[in-house]
Amino acid sequence: MTGVLPITLEESRKIVQALLLSGKEYVCVMKLHGDVPEARVKEVLKEFEDTIYQRPPLRASVKRQLRTRKIYYIDFLEMEGRNVLFKVGCEGGTYIRKLCYDIGEVLGCGAHMQELRRTRAGPFIEEEGLVTLHDVAYWFMEWREKGNASMLKKVIQPMEKALQLVPKIYIRDSAVDAICHGASLTAPGVLSLESGITAGAMVAIFTLKGEAVALAEAQASTEEILSMEHGVVARVKRVLMPRGTYPKCWKSGEL
């Protein structure tokens, strides 16, 4: 098993972008190509807890240009002979195979990635609701036969879970349908919001019922939004809720 792979169904596919950008955590076995003292390995791993440069590998799903990625932490776990076990927390889009190769270069002996397991993808972690393909098939069949919704909940989580780490803005019912049609969120529609929002950052627009309405780009900070009486607060990037879920409360000109 190679770990956490969030699968988005139908409508929830629209949040994939937010998941791709989110932080990841991996447990990795790195194989050294020579003998290195444990203390030296620990020392070099610490050096990589930084912003690093990476060029995506030959066979990658993105353009091969040099880019930077943040390594939030590398925790050395164990070392046995030439096998090094460590845990790494990093920005989305970090190539761990490359990281191992680069660590090997700094150590001087060379190294490669032997095994990898993802333990976190944004809000999705190993210890919470991680299911196997077998679990999915089993509980889905059970639900089909017995019709008990709690069986579905054993394997499926609402898409809002995927937005757990994205700062949120809660809006009035009357503002929802306009947002669903792609309109920008303006100050009067805002009811509450989370701290730490900055202009240009990605935010999630939510209803008071806790439903995701859209992903948007904040146009002002939390503090600014709190004191704004009018004007655009966030520009919608991706609508998540189908139109017509909430009543239309805006006037349209004659077409």
Binding site: G129, A149, K209
Partner: protein, 74 residues
């Protein structure tokens, strides 16, 4: 992890006639607006695994969040 506080700008209520709390969505919607935290088996690609889930659940479209070590392409 960043701790976020919720700051209130204005008070209002939500009408129970429209929308639905995510946990209370009827099964069909619960699936359509759902995400599976899947433990990917080693061997098949992320894409293949997503296709299997699609078949099991019987939905038309699935996606996956971040390709995970497909043997050659990382």
């Amino acid at each position: 992890m960043i701790e976020r506080r919720l700051l209130v700008k204005a008070e209002d209520e939500t009408d129970p006639k429209y929308g639905c709390k995510p946990e209370q969505r009827p099964p069909k919607d619960y699936i359509r607006f759902g995400v599976i935290n899947l433990d990917k088996p080693a061997g098949p690609t992320s894409h293949e695994v997503a296709a299997w889930v699609k078949r099991i659940i019987g939905v038309e479209n699935v996606g996956h969040g971040g390709t995970l070590e497909d043997l050659w392409s990382v």
